[in-house]
Amino acid sequence: MNAVANYNFAYLDEQTKRMIRRAILKAVAIPGYQVPFSSREMPMPYGWGTGGVQVTASIIGPDDVLKVIDQGADDTTNAVSIRAFFAKVAQVATTTHTAEATIIQTRHRIPERKLEAGQILVYQVPIPEPLRFLEPRETETRKMHALEEYGLMHVKLYEDIARHGRIATTYAYPVKVEGRYVMDPSPTPKFDNPKMHRSEALQLFGAGREHRIYAVPPHTDVVSLDFEDHPFEIQHFEQPCALCGAEGVYLDEVILDDRGGHMYVCSDTDHCEERRDAGFVGVLGMQEAAE
């Protein structure tokens, strides 16, 4: 056999893609429900996004433009590797610009720029079951989902308040989808939870090791769980991005030296670059320009 005989568009064989597409269709039909699928071995270790890569491989076409982010950044190992992977096995165009992308595979962030109709956001999910750490039995958690018994989820939030005085869960914050299924939005910061609510883009979640796919179709209600007297809140940052001066975005802390120096910069690198190109300058960005 020669190399060409072994080649198939986007790495997976067509039967596998059909199987995954069926799971995706079912997931879209039942928002927030975890659909089991026969996850394949991928040429990368578990935890690197095998679920997300399989979903992307199943939905990508030759005309798609792919963007891959890891914690908001386009230039980290995971993002660069997966982007290069699809550039090689599917010869698709890749981009770092959110607006140009038709498929965005993400590890733990939602881009700051509002997603539009026609875009698809693919999440890499490590543990799809929001009840897992409270109830280790899979048979029991499935039953709890089936019977809509979600009191346990609030036990976790209760514990947070009892221990910390507030809901201290900051990522993988549980949400209720379309008033029915409680879903783990993958370990995105809770800052991003409101972006999922009634989003125009299709959101697909793939968990490779756990063999689960779930989805939030466009214009679907996604409500974060909370208590009446302790309502859901997102993180707030005291200062704007040090490079582009953006406010109301999610910031990462960057250590600058070994004397306690640090700065806060946009976690979404594309958003930060676009703003700087447009002439916005932050506190430290100014110094850089002056030097």
């Binding site: 409270l134 039953k143 019977l147 018994e149 009191g151 346990l152 609030h154 036990v155 976790k156 209760y158 514990e159 308040i161 009892a162 221990r163 909370d226 208590f227 009446e228 007297d229 302790h230």
Partner: protein, 258 residues
């Protein structure tokens, strides 16, 4: 006590394959009544309790339960959703080993509050106040509310388990050897507490025990089981003071005297 029973059990039989668990059990339980099931190990007590509490499917027979709306339902014909709702609101189950009935990794307050949250209570302050109230009623210091049951003594765990079960105001509580594994002074306090709560709340209870002293203190009526069959039933004092069956006589005479 009201005139209408809460639970009517007829011809309840449970086989494990070809092996008998319990057979042909018939009784009625009235509101506010405590029924003890006694017998030696392997006599079918726990099988009967697990079948009555719908943890096990009976081989034949039925158990009719009077719901809060007054309608009679066979508990084995309820849908799974209805049954699970019933077991966490209108019923309680106190396990012999508190670790089976508690969540050992969440705080005492959350353990008590779980049932409230399960039925849709979403106000943290209210849930916590209720939890504090219940910890007080089962004599657990209220400053232990944020401690995990892991750090509690055996007696405290058992009392916490009772509070967790009673918080939704159940009408029927199943108890499987509630005082097993506790030392005698703690047993006495727990029995005192149980008796008081059962009286205050007008609970019905079915208590499985091999300890006749527990049955004497807690229960109004008792059933003696042997080899899966109920061999004698009646008022607790009558059965213990004037046992009719040879086996019951043996059981009563085996109580250690100090």
């Amino acid at each position: 006590m009201s005139d209408e029973p809460l639970l009517k059990v007829s011809n309840l039989t449970k086989f494990y394959g070809s092996r008998l668990g319990c057979a042909d059990v018939n009784f009625e339980l009235y509101p506010g009544e405590v029924l003890a099931i006694v017998g030696e190990s392997g006599s079918g007590k726990t099988t009967l309790l697990n079948t009555l509490s719908a943890n096990l499917e009976p081989t034949s027979g039925e158990a009719l339960y009077r719901m809060r709306d007054g309608s009679w339902r066979n508990i084995y014909e309820l849908s799974e959703a209805e049954r699970r709702f019933l077991t966490r609101t209108d019923w309680g189950f106190v396990h012999q080993n508190p670790a089976d009935g508690l969540r050992m990794t969440v705080s005492a307050g959350a353990n008590v509050g779980e049932r409230l949250m399960a039925v849709g209570d979403r106000h943290y302050g209210c849930i916590r106040d209720t939890a504090l109230d219940w910890l007080g009623r089962v004599e657990i210091a209220t400053d232990r509310i944020d401690d995990q049951p892991r750090s509690f003594s055996g007696g405290m765990r058992q009392r916490l388990q009772i509070a967790r079960n009673l918080v939704t105001g159940p009408r029927l509580v199943f108890m499987d050897e509630p005082t097993g594994g506790l030392d005698v002074s703690v047993q006495a306090r727990l029995l005192d507490l149980l008796r008081q709560l059962v009286g205050e709340l007008g609970l019905s209870a079915i208590v499985v025990t091999h300890d006749l002293a527990v049955a004497r203190l807690l229960s109004h009526r008792m059933m003696v089981m042997k080899g899966g069959h109920v061999i004698e039933a009646g008022l607790t004092d009558r059965v213990l003071d004037d046992p009719r069956e040879p086996y019951t006589q043996l059981l009563v005479s085996s109580i250690l005297q100090v």
